[in-house]
């Protein structure tokens, strides 16, 4: 009846030593970004191209979101592609280069010195991404099975590489003539390559595997996922063509609409996974992650409004541009990380502490390794801070911005508190 026993040949889990530094770095970056948000909240009533906003955006995009995603990817990619991670050394290299490069880049933006600190930082980030892409590409090439999730992940890493290479070229373009136009002109393209190509594709690819897995759902629909994949990539390529060949602004409705349809299909996919789940009791971390799926639609709605405003006013729509960026980095990206951190990190720590302590009797479960009241307080603070700050941007209201930033900082402190509690966990005595 049963064939092909593997004996002791159980798949190797990526070492916690590889993964944990990314999580720790990401947590600190989130805290620093929240502090910068508080001391720079006045910048959110002015133009979007400002040193402090550039610094906060890159700290959120690279230090927070990308570092956490890189860490989680090293752990989860083997699950997605059903093969071991190719190299732990490449993973360490990726971490070391990014960890050194990001502060230099962010410092350069913050003080608006786009000379050597920022250029060196940006170059280190590109090298970090090259190491990551090589690791993922070799891991996938050695995998015996092809699946849609792996294609999402690999395509996302390619878009990430293009994003950071383009970003580095833009950085050098500030001091040396690399492009025919100034760097500010190209920022829209750089931002969307990263947000849609890297973050969105990766979140969709990983989420479409993990959400049914965590819900213990029977629902599978690869054709739907392929449709989503094609819609998102077509949108990105069309946007690039429209941008580079100076097509009319109104045409941008087409790629935005394609992404919107893709997100509606993904929301449908998640809903079906939820409906067909066996695990009826959904924990708080999954609830926050599912909230993040809903929050995915918010930036696209803001984008559609932004295009409309740009068409009508034929000029600047500064507060809507800022709200658009805010809903991406402090909205769905942060929400999904707040949820997924406490869905993945407790298992990594549990494996580290308890894997060799197998014995009869009850051990703490991974969810016992962090404080749930603190997690709930973090969730409430995050949602409140997000709404207040978002409203502050839209209404250009300093009091709302300051209050929102303070509450978001509280959420970042609570997040760090729980991450620290996890990372310093010692085995329970029997």
């Amino acid at each position: 009846m049963f064939g092909s026993p593997l004996g002791g040949n159980v798949a190797r889990t990526t070492s916690h030593k590889v993964v944990i530094p990314f999580y720790a770095y990401g947590a600190v970056a989130f805290l620093v970004a929240a502090v910068l948000l508080l001391i720079s909240n006045g910048a959110f009533t002015g133009h979007w191209f400002q040193p402090h906003l550039l610094a906060i955006t890159h700290l959120m995009a690279l230090g927070w979101a990308t570092m956490i995603i890189l860490g989680a990817s090293h752990q989860l990619v083997p699950v997605l592609i059903e093969n071991d991670l190719y190299s732990n050394k490449l993973a360490y290299t990726s971490f070391a280069l990014a960890a050194a490069g990001i502060p230099l880049l962010v410092y350069g933006f913050f003080v608006f010195n786009l000379g050597w600190p920022a250029q060196l930082g940006g170059s280190l980030v590109v090298c970090a991404v090259l190491a990551f892409v090589a690791n993922i590409a070799i891991s996938i090439s050695k995998s015996k099975r092809e699946n849609v999730h792996a294609v999402f992940v690999f395509t996302a890493t390619v878009w990430l590489l293009l994003t950071v290479l383009f970003g580095l070229a833009l950085l050098f373009n500030f001091t040396t003539s690399v492009f025919t136009r100034n760097s500010v002109y190209y920022l829209t393209l750089h931002a969307h390559l990263g947000v849609v190509g890297w973050f969105l594709l990766l979140v969709l690819g990983v989420g479409s595997r993990l959400i049914p897995m965590f819900l213990i759902s029977k629902y599978k629909n690869p054709p739907l996922l392929w449709s989503i994949f094609i819609l998102v990539n077509t949108a990105l390529i069309l946007f690039g063509i429209f941008f580079l060949y100076h097509f009319a602004t109104g045409l941008n409705y087409l790629p935005a609409a394609l992404v919107f349809v893709a997100l509606l299909l993904f929301a449908h996919y998640c809903r079906m996974a939820y409906v067909e789940r066996i695990r009826k009791k959904v924990d708080d971390q999954m609830k926050v992650s599912l909230l993040a799926v809903a929050l995915l639609l918010l930036p696209v709605l803001v984008l559609l409004a932004l295009i409309a405003v740009l068409l009508v006013s034929a000029g600047q729509a500064t507060n809507v541009v800022l709200l658009y960026g805010f809903t991406i980095f402090f909205g769905w990206l942060t929400a999904i990380i707040l949820g997924m951190t406490f869905k993945t990190l407790p298992f990594i720590v549990w494996n580290k502490v308890y894997r060799h302590r197998a014995a009869l009797g009850k051990m703490p479960s991974p969810k016992d390794l962090f404080s749930h009241p603190v997690y709930k307080a973090m969730g409430v603070a995050y949602l409140l801070g997000f709404v207040l700050f978002g409203a502050g941007i839209l209404l250009a209201a300093p009091l709302l911005l300051k209050t929102g930033a303070t509450v978001l900082l509280a959420a970042a402190v609570l997040y760090n508190w729980n991450v620290l509690k996890l990372l310093t966990h010692k085995p329970f005595r029997k």
Binding site: V79, I278, A358, S365
Partner: protein, 108 residues
Amino acid sequence: MNHSDESKALLDAAYEALKFVDDPEVGLNVVDLGLIYELDLHEEEKKISCLMTFTTEFCPMGESIQANVTEALKMTVPGYVPEVTVTFDPPWKQDMISEAGRAFLGGY
């Protein structure tokens, strides 16, 4: 395989012991989760064999779960060497969860 009464009792005890080994993510024990495909006692070889699976082939908790199963068998059936084999043929499916397991997870 025919077993003596003593062996049957040992096997029953082993099954019960495995109900204390949880999949840490799900919080449900490996028996009710349907991860245990076969459990057998080989009296002459003094060996207890277990054929099991994981919910996904590259389960990050796989090593821990397998170690826990081995330890549980070692402690429950002293004098017998546990031999835990992992297979993905057939792969685990949600249908393999027992009625008790479904009730634990919230039922349909």
